[in-house]
């Protein structure tokens, strides 16, 4: 069994919840963590995080952070985390359209990147609901 913590700057979403496996969006590709995983510190990108608890899946949308895996404990630190059940699909769609619109215009490098990230997040949110 794995113990998983998900922490954001303003909230503790999961506090050592048990799970059989965790799938994380690592920067180098998706990672699946099972019991006995080696010690690892990795960066995460925006993407879906999937948890298997008692054979059932729980999905989260997370964006940018880290994960530390040690002694069958998974610690996820991310800027924003949302569970699929709390995501408002319409809002995500609206956010996607807004970001797409903005990307069509002329933007500074920083703004371009910001909008790109926004788009990415909106897509992840829709993907898991």
């Amino acid at each position: 069994m794995l113990k998983i913590d998900i922490v954001t700057p303003t909230k503790k979403l999961l506090d050592s919840a048990s799970a059989e496996s965790v799938k994380l969006p690592g920067v180098k590709g998706e990672l699946q963590i099972l019991e006995g995983h080696t010690e690892l510190l990795t960066l995460l990108k925006a993407g879906p995080l999937t948890l298997v608890q008692d054979g059932r899946e729980r999905k989260f949308s997370i964006s940018y952070g880290f994960a530390e895996i040690r002694n069958n404990k998974v610690l996820v630190l991310a800027d924003t985390v949302e569970e699929s059940t709390t995501i408002d699909k319409k809002r995500a769609e609206a956010a996607q359209k807004k970001a797409e619109q903005a990307l069509l215009g002329v933007l500074s490098e920083i703004d371009f990147k910001k909008q790109q990230l926004k788009l990415e997040r909106a897509l992840v949110r829709q993907q898991i609901t």
Binding site: V7, P9, K12, E39, L41, L43, Y64, F66, E68
Partner: protein, 294 residues
């Protein structure tokens, strides 16, 4: 006596004031509770980031521009105060500390530029010291997104070498009735763990990361985690300042309410005395009149 009406009017007005200060105290107390919670909620994240950071510092070959001290020629001081008054010496204390800091640095030949947060700080320093940026709209509702955006801006200026260190002066939240004025150096980040922190972070186990796999690499992880630590620090300091402000306002309003009550008691006593004097005087007049007739 003619001034009885006057006294009654004054009692009325003091009562009104007391009502207002009492209401403000209640509001501050409620807000204080909420901002205290906000501080507590940031702790798990902040501690864990810091513990990972500390364990990374133990690794060999760790390098990052934010960890290297440059010679201080120009420094940036971030002053965190409030948007509103009526909170005792909350704002004044920060200003005093900031002025002291500026004086010390200037005596050492270091140029100080200011970043201010809070309308009160803006008003105060407008005439006293050049302000480089006023960050408005943060204090109304402090969110991580807003705070990290500001922190990011400051960091970029640092990386462009506009200044060599970042200090922050704010009210550290001790308890509802106690605030400590604190000046902290946020950047460059010290690689030494401050005393006392090690125990909290259970560093004993965290400091051994030798067998870890780092993905994509130590350096890239450090590049992400160091700024994030700074954002978190900044966010925490602002939250602490906000909680302190509510705490300060609560105790200021509490004592204002108490003073108003005392004043009302005093005035009521005066009023009663005046009334008694008037009655006595009337009686004397009647008795005097009766005596004259017999």
């Amino acid at each position: 006596m003619a001034d009885r009406k006057e006294i009654r009017k004054r009692i009325g007005s003091v009562q009104n004031t007391r009502q207002i200060t009492r209401a403000m105290k209640m509001v501050a107390a409620a807000k204080l509770r909420r901002s205290q919670e906000a501080i507590l909620n940031t702790r798990p994240f902040a501690y864990r980031i810091y513990s990972i950071l500390l364990s990374l510092f133990q690794q060999e070959g760790i390098q990052h521009p934010l960890l290297v001290s440059r010679e201080e020629k120009r420094v940036r001081l971030i002053v965190v105060a409030g948007d509103r008054g009526l909170c005792g010496s909350f704002n004044a204390n920060v200003f005093k500390e900031a002025l002291k800091f500026i004086k010390v640095k200037q005596a050492a030949g270091v140029e100080v530029t200011l970043d201010v947060i809070g309308k009160k700080a803006q008003d105060f320093f407008k005439k006293r010291h050049p302000i480089s940026t006023c960050h408005e709209g943060l204090l109304g509702k402090v969110t991580y997104a807003k705070a990290s955006a500001i922190a990011h801006e400051i960091l970029e200026a640092y990386q462009k070498e506009e200044f060599d260190a970042i200090y922050l002066v704010y009210n550290e939240f001790k308890s509802a009735i106690q605030q400590n004025i604190t000046t902290e150096r946020l950047i460059p980040i010290s690689t030494e763990a401050p005393e006392g922190v090690v125990g909290i972070l259970k560093a004993g186990e965290d400091l051994r990361l030798k067998s870890y796999i780092f993905e994509p690499s130590k350096t890239e992880i450090l590049n992400e985690i160091v700024p994030k630590h700074f954002y978190m620090q900044f966010f925490r300091c602002v939250l602490e300042s906000v909680a302190s402000e509510h705490g300060a306002r609560m105790s200021a309003m509490e004592s204002a309410t108490k003073n108003a009550s005392e004043m009302i008691d005093h005035l009521t006593l005066l009023y009663n005395k005046a009334r008694q004097a008037a009655i006595t005087k009337e009686l004397m007049e009647i008795i005097g009149g009766v005596e004259a007739m017999t």
